[in-house]
Subunit: 213 residues, 2 copies
DNA sequence: GTCTATAATCAGATAGAC
DNA sequence: GTCTATCTGATTATAGAC
């Protein structure tokens, strides 16, 4: 195209609004980051909205302009974690074995937990569970992750790497449970092991079991 | 002894006071039973003192004549569980192997959980943790159980039944974690397995691991 | 010791000015 | 959209009569 051509000037995106939208998203990301950290540290019920607002550095009323309830705040954090999980699954080499991918995810999950980045939800039924079940982004992410992990589990069972006598769903739950395994925090509190050692210990008990071989 | 013998009449125990004391204890046992059930069902933070009083069938103010705080209520329930655990340990045959005793305790613990009799505490720090740490009966019970389990673990490791490369403390934590394993409730919610099957599944993943053998 | 009634506090959510 | 100030409801705990 020649320099003299009168190129149709594409309508510029509305800069002012876009900028504001970016600010909005950045602010919401900051909020979610704080929520994520507090959820990991104290859990949903012990976390207060006042605390979130204080840590973000804004007024509580401003929080409610972004998220309409405490449950929504937590749900947004969970959606973020799920997206990170999906992104991690994407990075796994397609040429590695199914069981290796499973182990990589498990290590990654426990690393998050040990780093205080894994929100801990109430395991029992609660208002938060209800909100999460109705959150499409979260449920879609959870389904996607479960489908991908489930396929790997069955593949690993067929290949004789994972015990084929175990129901795949039980294996999946067992993997998910590593994300909130109290053994991780107990060992960390003990102070005798580095995070990497703790992960390898729990990896060993998880995949090889307590029995001697 | 002839019918005519004038037997010395033993001083009767102060019937009225003893009876009242028995009533007191029975009432407190009833309270603790309710607390235990609610703790298992909803956890400490979601359980309200009003709820406890209503389920026991007494006024809330009466509760506070027996226990001076919500934390004390929960602590009493935990002491009860610890006593039941100690009593169960006592029943284990001394001629069975250490690893069999360990497995028996683990099964028993998971059975409690599946029956809704295992109080679930907040794993994170909280007012309840503080109260529990300062409760001598609870701490003594915990120490006793841990000592006995710890001895069996080391015995089983020496006998080549439990993997001797694992730190005994990690094994102990792994066993304790079965008492609050979310895999149990997930599988139960799935409705595909009976409690016994669930226990054997988790026993398998716990002791034999996920890997195929 | 048990009750009814109430105090005291805390946390989620909102009103309304700017 | 952000703020200050406030509302509302729930919850722990207690006062005081019986």
């Amino acid at each position: 195209m020649g320099m003299n051509a009168i190129a149709p000037v594409p309508t510029p995106p509305p800069v002012k609004i876009s900028f504001k939208a970016q600010m909005l998203l950045a602010r919401e990301d900051a909020i979610i980051k704080v929520v994520n950290q507090l959820l990991a540290e104290k859990g949903f019920e012990a976390m207060t909205v006042d605390e979130v607002a204080a840590n973000v550095g804004i007024a509580k009323a401003s929080l409610y302009k972004h998220f309409s309830s405490k449950e929504d705040l937590a749900a947004a954090a969970m959606v973020g974690v799920m997206q990170r999980a999906q992104a991690f699954l994407d990075t796994l080499a397609t040429d590695s074995s199914a069981v290796d991918k499973i182990k990589a995810v498990t290590r990654w999950t426990m690393g998050l937990k040990l780093n205080g980045e894994m929100p801990s939800l109430p395991s029992q039924n609660s208002s938060l569970r209800t909100t999460l079940m109705g959150n499409k982004a979260y449920m879609d992410g959870l389904m996607d992750v479960s489908d991908r992990l489930g396929a790997w589990i069955e593949e690993a069972q067929a290949a004789g790497a994972i015990n084929p006598q175990l129901p795949a769903i039980a294996v999946l739950y067992t993997l998910y449970a590593r994300a909130c395994d109290p053994v991780l925090e107990f060992l960390k509190m003990g102070g005798l092991h580095e995070n990497e050692q703790i992960i390898e210990l729990v990896m060993s008990t998880c995949f090889e079991g307590l029995n001697a071989r």
